[in-house]
Subunit: 481 residues, 2 copies
């Protein structure tokens, strides 16, 4: 019954075309404020408290008649109209939370199986499938072999990058404290990133007990395409060492689009090459559904030393005793004991799309972003504000001459108006080096060329209107003066 | 197609009887070694590496014909036979990972909707539904009103207790460091628990940078039913304060069954009553499917101060600007930015079972555990080793007189043989104060009275056989002597 409620649009079945996805409704709009599908909820009513006010203050004591049906009707009438539709083809904000029919069915299957693979014994096939798929994905991404199980490294599937960074950091922290002796020197540890690094890194470092003053954000510049400067990094590390501090960890990325939040595959590594970790969010661009973040490490023993709970040998089971290092207990690779069987959906995606299918999926989005970028570049009223590497285009409207100081405010208003447009796109923003810019992040499963060009038409239309208004205000001001 | 593969057993529809659950197969057994349903995989082949050896070393470049169907056949033939079936009615090990049709359909719906509610704007209805259900659940559990949104506190749905404890600890840590001045004093902070506290607490404290030597495990005794002694706690805190250290956090439980791992609702709180946090795993006994852990705090501002990333104001959106404190940005309440829409399934469960339905579900398991306990008590060869409070029975086989030193080894063998029995139960173990004991944790959705009594029959049968063997060995030894 619930499943009938999930409308599968453009489902081409097993082979899985790029546009196949599970959606609860045909998502016409990206923003709750604009949802043309809202049936009973007035879109204008979506403001803080709108849903809380409509639901009872207490859970029912006993279920009403046909409770599930009634709840589904509320999903349709109250909840869906109040969601921001990340699966809309016009969702170009933040980052893609890409979904596929295959991964959604994988989630359903996982929910039905509902095992908790915290050790090998707690669900052998779940643990081993995880080992298989992280090696599969690592090879497909051309990661160094040393990060794969088949070469002494290994990976795991966590929920998010935030968690992955935290695990890698804690492992690096403990290893360094063991090296320098005296684990009370945690206050001396220093971590490094660029001023373009996602805030998840600073947050993870803070959680791990690294002093907030000991997180160095190396300045980048637009001239260097916001890349981290090795010279600046070396200088910062030397200065810290001279001051008696201890350089611990560098969070680097393979490329540097303006920051909040990066949705391209990211990589982080410790300064020592022997202790590298890398991460990729398969739930962002790889159709694996939220959540699914792969973390690979070169030295799993460091993770286990930091996060393992070897005193709880009772959980290990005979298999681990007999096979020693061959048996992975994933509870020792992450923050959590309870964990989901995420490998199943990622394995289904890899099998049903194939590496070439996923490459095609990613390349199509990159092509669409390139096309959006060309349209921006062809319009002299706009500028592309950061070099596009993949499918993220950062751009802004240039204010009329003599009004450069108004640029940020103008673009803020532009974004507001674009996002408020009837069936327009939903975009987000970034602030880099004092410059406010719009972000068009292509990557939703259902996004096609036409959605991107329609989005550009909306941007142009709203920009023209805003510039006209500025012009009129100036004329009026001139007349009045 | 995938969904047809999920067999819904005893599905009574919306009203949702206690036994309704989604299972991928009729789970006849709890252990992979014993799986009578294995069709193509020989159960004896489930040892480390069994699955990795059977799967290709690389992901396919292009999907095979009918890739999804082929993958599902592999799920049936290779993966399911190699799982530990947590949803089996004979799974009495570790803790229940309780599932319901309603929650599993909720997961499927969530996977289809696939929104990322990190701020209110990022999905208003998802954020508000989370606020509603944590208040609903908190009221149903009779939590202090100060922990509810309706009274200035508030809650969130995280993945696991490990994550919840970490969040509460980091908030307490930062608040204390601000109080005492000088955040470099992190090495002086001391946390407290009992020697029965789950290792998740020590792990979370370690991740948060609390020195491993600064985690005090207050000794408990069987005479006190393993309860934490307030006098011992006070003495430990006083000693630490006298030594110049700073007492920070107490992880307490509402009751104290022997440890690994506690699956009853647990509560943790800071020494100061003003800063209490509580947590409950709805995915354990409350039919909400893995994962779903509710965390409530009395002072959300402390969480936000520690985990918030207010500098990223770009993510906040106009609604937050306008409504200030009324708008919850759940990214600031947890470790992660990306998060799942867990509220939907919990809301469906609460609506479709009602509070009375969930109470009945829990009470039925408590009754079954009481019945198991009575059977243990009625057999003089056994003893109940810890007071049963809810649905966990800890017990052991007493060795023949004069062989008390053999008790642990005897019970280790007993557990092995019980778990190896053809269609027997799957139990786990604990070691408390040097005493090894078996744990019978009743709580699987499908478990009925008969499964518990059948489990006891298997235990009795294997115990008799072991005792006979010991007797024979003794006789032989005596004869030989």
């Amino acid at each position: 019954m619930a499943l009938a409620f999930i409308i599968i649009t453009k489902n081409n079945g097993a082979g899985a075309a790029q546009n196949d996805v599970v959606l609860p409704v045909e998502t016409g709009t990206a923003q709750p404020q604009n949802n043309a599908n809202a049936r009973f909820l007035d879109p204008d009513d979506v403001h803080p408290g709108f849903l809380r006010r409509q639901l009872p203050a207490d859970a029912p004591s006993r279920p009403e008649l046909d409770a599930f049906g009634a709840a589904l009707r509320d999903v349709r009438d109250l909840i869906l109209p109040g969601l921001t539709h990340w699966q809309s083809p016009r969702h170009l904000a933040h980052f893609p939370a890409s979904s596929s029919t295959v991964a959604a069915l994988g989630e359903a299957l996982t929910a039905g199986i509902n095992v908790v693979p915290f050790t090998w014994t707690a669900s052998p096939a779940a643990t081993e499938l995880e080992m298989v798929v992280v090696d599969w994905l690592g090879k497909a991404l051309h990661l160094p072999e040393t990060l794969l199980f088949c070469s002494g490294g290994g990976g795991t599937l966590l929920g998010t990058t935030c968690e992955a960074i935290l695990c890698a950091l804690v492992a690096a922290r403990d290893s360094k404290l063991a090296d320098i002796g005296g684990s009370r020197r945690i206050g001396d540890l220093v971590v490094y990133c660029s001023d373009q690094t996602h805030f998840a890194f600073r947050k993870a470092a803070h959680i791990a007990g690294i002093h907030r003053d000991n997180c160095r954000e190396i300045a980048t510049s637009r001239d260097d395409m916001f890349a981290l400067s090795p010279a600046a990094l070396r200088a910062a590390m030397r200065a810290d060492a001279d001051a008696g501090l201890v350089p611990l960890f560098l969070c680097a990325r393979r490329w540097a689009p303006p920051r909040p939040p990066p949705w391209t595959p990211s990589a982080s590594s410790a300064p020592s090459r022997q202790r590298t970790a890398r991460g990729v969010n398969a739930h962002k661009w790889l159709l694996a559904n939220t959540d699914c973040c792969a973390l690979w490490v070169r030295a799993p023993a460091l993770l286990v030393a930091a996060l393992g709970t070897e005193q709880e040998y009772i959980l290990r089971g005979a298999a681990a005793e007999e096979h020693g290092g061959d048996v992975v207990a994933y509870k020792d690779w992450s923050v959590t004991l309870t964990r989901r069987f995420r490998a199943l959906k990622l394995w289904l995606v890899l099998r049903c799309y194939g590496i070439e299918g996923l490459r095609g999926h990613v390349r199509a989005h990159v092509r669409m972003a390139a096309s959006f970028e060309s349209m921006v570049e062809a319009d002299a009223r706009f500028e592309v504000t950061a070099t596009r590497r993949f499918a993220l285009v950062c751009f802004r409207l240039l204010p009329p001459e003599g009004k450069l100081e108004a640029a940020n405010e103008l673009n803020r208003r532009l974004l507001e108006e674009v996002n408020a447009a009837g069936s327009g796109p939903y975009m987000s923003s970034a602030m880099v080096g004092g410059v406010y810019m719009l972000r068009c992040a292509v990557g939703s499963t259902l996004t096609e060329e036409r959605h991107v060009s329609e989005a550009w038409n909306v941007v142009q239309d709203r920009a023209a209107s805003l510039l006209r208004k500025m012009e009129n205000t100036s004329s009026t001001a001139a007349c009045t003066a």
